[in-house]
Subunit: 228 residues, 2 copies
């Protein structure tokens, strides 16, 4: 299963906020064996949201959006997603009922548009806040506030499922350039994906679908490099 994340928000583009949502979702999806193929941050503009969501929902199995939900003028994700799937926005009865019963919000007290989702979409309740998310076709619309986003993702996590992968990390105390030949040999000997991330040391990530294969590869590498 291949997915793309579309993170909406001028504050992410201007660096006012670090995109920890994308890292958290990437990790949770990887745990479920799902490939994240793209993470794209777009501004708070309907046309940009719609165009990006549309391109990715055609190219990948699912799209997850974060951010841009709520009542203010810069909350435009629902409008962008509705445009992407060619639907109108409509208040969700299920959301209005839940906001009344759980949140104590009378309809007339809610800011205009609070319960709007694309027509026919499946609403996702916001157990940590007010603004609802939704699922429409293969697009999952989640909030931007991390606690709200995480709780809402957990409610749909079971709908994301790929091939199980096993992962090991090894920190190596050698320059990355010295490791080129051993990485080549490692990949020749074993059916593993090798990632090499330099910093003060080199962090090596090994991934395999077969656990025994991963263990053998990690053991071989450990015996053939200077482990930090």
């Amino acid at each position: 299963m291949d997915v793309a994340l579309v993170c909406v928000g001028d504050e992410l583009l201007a660096g006012d906020t670090v995109n920890t949502n994308a890292a958290w979702l990437g990790e949770r999806l990887a745990e479920r064996g799902v490939n994240v193929e793209r993470v794209t941050v777009v501004p708070d503009r309907v046309a940009d949201i719609a165009r990006t969501v549309n391109e990715y929902r055609a190219a990948y199995d699912a799209v997850v959006t974060t951010g841009g939900l709520g009542p203010t003028h810069d909350d435009l994700t629902m409008e962008g997603v509705a445009a992407a799937v060619g639907r109108t926005l409509e208040p969700s009865e299920a959301v209005l009922e839940r906001l009344a019963s759980e949140g104590g919000y009378a309809r007339e007290d809610l800011a205009a548009g609070t319960a709007d989702i694309p027509a026919g979409a499946r609403p996702l309740h916001n157990v940590e806040g007010v603004a609802p998310g939704c699922v429409v076709e293969n697009v999952y619309v989640l909030p931007g506030v991390p606690a709200e986003m995480k709780a809402m993702f957990e409610a749909v996590a079971g709908e994301f499922e790929g091939e199980e992968r096993h992962v090991d990390f090894l920190v190596v105390d050698e320059p990355e350039s010295a490791l080129v030949d051993r990485f080549a040999e490692l990949q020749e000997r074993f059916d593993v994906i090798v990632g090499s991330y330099p910093g003060d040391d080199v962090r090596v990530k090994l991934q395999a679908t077969d656990e025994t294969e991963l263990e053998a590869a990690t053991e071989w590498l450990r015996a053939n490099v200077e482990v930090a």
Copy 2:
């Protein structure tokens, strides 16, 4: 000036690494009045890098890439960028000379491809590491290791220049939904861009090209909301 950032790396997609490079670059570019229109993370695959760089260099004034530089099998950014601009990769004499004179690296000791950049590109020296960056047409290729990326960006920062903007932040202790009308009035009265970022409180960002206008708008908002 509108730019796009293309961040290369499986580790960013899988959430092993939080994309702090994008936030840092976004902030530095915003300070210079430059709009970041997209941040896209792509996997360590030549075709994906090439396609994304190509799309963005046509759509925006400049593209800045981070990550995927170095000698290992998963360092594919130079190859992707070369493909995007239709050039071959060639060892840079300037880079080889500098690695010898400053780094003490003899040519024969360097891993194959270490000094390769697209033919005719302007090399950018890596004062904090080994792998060079480059500028080719309107594409700036920077490393992924934050200290290396930052030092290399500073060497070209003067090439990024937009309209000066003034920015103020205000933290408001009211629910976001209650602020809708005042945000509308604020935008009617003053020539400012208003961003609203909910969390425990609501963080409001005001931007204007005119400093006096910004001060007046901030003063008006401060007088009309519950400041936290």
